[in-house]
């Protein structure tokens, strides 16, 4: 080694040492920027920002903050509807025509005018594209053939919706008006970016182009995402100019980041971390019940689980109380009814969960069903962290009445394709509705218009469990068109009581939206259906 290179080496060593020392002396508590909200969140599920295609909760929440819909859920009471893109609306006598009056002078990010014409195009687009969210509209009679006549812009600020039946107006406003399918998209840009007539679907895979308080600045899959306040927004400017989301898959890591002050909000904390952080100085825990149910579904094609009594027996193996107080304490509340707490027509918390762990009863029920010595069955579940402990708890209880449950954990994508293909005995998964009305879940978890395998109604959980009950179907239809709210509620109450005994799945928990937050964040506003980033401040 020459003297010169020794000097060089020394310099490098010294520099490295200096870097090391200085990194050691970094202040323990880093601060997040004053004008930005920094969140750690598992955002692996994001695959597109197209409102016609998005079907999972993470992107849905982000879209709600980048793309205003026609109307909005009241932040304080999710069953009420308040103006958003539409400042008011009129309903015809026969309830079949709804006329929306939009805000004037709305602009897309960049300054191009945003009118009812683009909105009509955006909504028609959802049906014409035919992705998952088309069902939100086709369910109420909009089809590829009629959508251009049924959703019409009569002038720049007026949009007219024509329905095929006298659906409850509030339900339509919740299901369509406040849904991502009524996002106002930039027709011009999307038409320019269109590939093979995809209405800009490919462009929206990595961009947003709509009217909302924020716009998507940057998204690196599996890494980070940035929302930036939209300068051209017609409403009030958000208090925090940027929302930074960092992808962190490990709950433990999120906790570390939060307690070290590197983030403001941790979205996926484990229940025990939440319990531990609850009440710690400088931190707070926020929670709200969301319309998501965690349930155990049974395949009615299976010779064992086609027996109603077996399905009922399984409900008595669930330690609702014990799990609710331990594993699920910060994650959700016990719920056996298909209608979520907070929805119109839902049973109250007590009546909506009449079950308790009762091995005797479960044993008697399976004996009546013809299995006095028990049986063996498989439970599939995915990567949700609470699945494993719940499944193991039930497995242990089942073993006491001679029922041997084999657990099989798999990647979520694999679980979904098994369940969709009716290729399972029993499975545990979550289901979330977009409507604060009992109809939302009744129409999916119970209603099954066509049980034939070739019908392939794979988006309907009742079909996936091969479950069809004509009487329930009829009552659900009847409730949908019932004009008297009280009568309508009564139908749903009875339906919930009956399905808890007979239905295709054991609903187990209604989940919380829960997070840990630095107490520097003020005015965090949310309800079960929506998070309002633009109202938060620091």
């Amino acid at each position: 080694m020459t003297p010169k290179s020794i000097v060089k080496t020394r310099v490098i060593v010294a520099a490295t040492a200096a870097a090391l020392m200085s990194s050691i002396s970094l202040p323990a508590l880093a601060a997040t920027p004053k004008s930005a909200l920094v969140m750690a969140w598992n955002i692996d599920a994001i695959s597109t920002f197209d409102p016609a295609q998005v079907g999972e909760v993470v992107t849905n929440e982000l879209l709600q903050n980048t793309c205003d819909s026609l109307v909005d859920f009241d932040p304080k009471d999710e069953s009420k509807v308040v103006p958003l893109l539409a400042k008011s609306w009129d309903v015809s006598e026969d309830r079949k025509t709804i006329t929306f009056h939009l805000n004037e002078g709305m602009k897309f990010p960049g300054g191009a005018p945003a009118t009812a014409k683009e909105l009509a195009w955006s909504m028609q687009r959802v049906v014409l594209l035919g992705y998952g969210n088309a069902a939100t509209l086709t369910e109420y009679g909009f089809t590829k053939e009629n959508v251009k006549e049924r959703i019409v812009a009569t002038d720049d600020n007026t949009l007219v919706l024509t329905l095929e039946a006298a659906y409850p107006t509030n339900l339509i406003l919740q299901a369509i008006g406040a849904n991502r399918v009524s996002a106002l998209l930039d027709e011009k840009t999307l038409t320019e970016k269109s590939v093979n007539g995809d209405f800009g679907n490919k462009y929206l895979a990595t961009n947003t182009a709509c009217v909302g308080p924020y716009k998507l600045m940057q998204w690196n899959a599996g890494e980070s995402l940035v929302l930036q306040a939209n300068e051209d927004y017609y409403g009030n400017q958000p208090k925090l100019k940027r929302v930074l989301v960092r992808h962190v898959a490990e709950p433990g890591t999120q906790r570390l980041l939060l307690t070290q002050g590197d983030i403001d909000i941790a979205r996926d904390l484990s229940p025990d971390d939440l319990a531990d952080l609850d009440g710690k100085p400088g931190l707070k825990i926020e929670r709200v019940l969301k319309p998501q149910l965690f349930f155990w579904t049974f395949n009615a094609l299976d010779p064992i689980f086609k027996e109603e009594k077996v399905r009922l027996a399984m409900r008595y193996l669930i330690d609702y109380d014990g799990l609710g107080k331990s594993v699920m304490k910060y994650l959700g509340v016990p719920r056996a009814s298909f209608a979520q707490i907070g929805a119109t027509g839902a049973l109250n918390a007590e009546e909506g969960q009449p079950f308790k762990l009762d091995l005797e009863k479960a044993k008697a029920l399976i004996a009546e069903a013809g299995y006095p010595n028990g049986f063996e069955a498989t439970v599939l579940f995915g990567m949700l962290p609470h699945s494993a402990p719940i499944a193991q708890s039930i497995q242990q209880n089942a073993s006491k009445i001679g029922v041997k449950l084999n657990l099989e954990r798999m990647a979520n994508a694999q679980l979904f394709s098994r369940i969709r293909g009716r290729d399972f005995q029993t499975g545990m998964l979550a289901w979330q509705t977009g409507v604060p009305d009992a109809h939302g879940n009744a129409s999916r978890l119970i209603y099954n218009p066509d049980n034939r395998p070739e019908a392939k109604l794979t988006q309907i959980p009742a079909w996936r469990s091969a479950y069809q009950n004509e009487d329930f179907n009829k009552r659900i239809q009847q409730a949908l068109l019932e004009g008297d709210p009280e009568k309508r509620n009564q139908i749903y109450y009875q339906l919930q009581k009956d399905t808890m005994q007979q239905g295709p799945s054991a609903i187990m928990f209604q989940m919380y939206n829960i997070l840990g937050m630095s107490d520097k964040v003020q005015n965090w506003t949310w309800n079960g259906f929506r998070v309002y980033y633009d109202l938060a401040s620091k």
Partner: protein, 310 residues
Amino acid sequence: MTDKALISASPPRSGYSAWLRAPVPSSPFHARMQQLWLQWRQLRSNASALFGLIVIVIILVAALFAPVLATHDIFEQNLAARLLAPSGQHWLGTDELGRDVYSRLLFGARITLYIALLTTVIVAPIGLIVGTTAGYLGGWVDTVLMRIVDVFLAFPNLILALAFVAALGPGIENAIIAISLASWPPIARLARAETLTIRKSDYIAAMRLQGASSLRIIFGHIMPMCIPSVVVRVTLNMAAIILTAAGLGFLGLGAQPPSPEWGTMLSSGREFVMTSWWIAAIPGCAILLTSLAFNLLGDGLRDVLDPRHG
């Protein structure tokens, strides 16, 4: 160090000891036994290898007598007594469902050893056959087999195992198949390299001149020569297998609940790493210790059986 054992040999004793120590072996069997005995003395004098062996024996005993040593039913849950710290009642605390960690650890040793041993039993013969065949026959057989080996080697073990587990479905048996598929190539390579040197030796040439079939030469004369280095390799491999199995468990694709596989225990324990550190720390230490023991033993065995690779 290899000579130490001989020099420090104690004065001759009668019976077995004398037989093992006889200056001239009386039969091939006698010679083999004498060699084994010598190797054992060498191994015994290697402190770290001995330590590894002792640890493995302890783990084996723990696994064999798990039902006797365990203090609790490993499946019995108690939601009221979850996440307890180590105490007289629960020596290593309880997990997220109130199960006894100590008892689960003992039964977990069974699974870990089962995976490691079964994988080895599958992998060693496959690697030996492929490697010796390729090495002895040479030519296009060699080229094709070694390309296959290369293809498998190009993937990191865990990713390959992950792919196979994803394809086959989770579970211990599938994990074993997946890990086997991922870990036979290094052994094949080693066996081939050994074969290449053996192949040139005079006695193989003599066999060939006598008209022995390739099959017979490979199985009867080359394979036995490869065994020492393969044994060393396989022992070291066990550590890698244990780590891969734990990695699969950590990603949720290994043994399925409620099985007390260590990687799976660690994986569910990581949620509680800040609140109940022992749930993750204990299986982690167990994995470390076991894999360390196999490495130490493998190192020691190498000195004895395969001194060329020191």
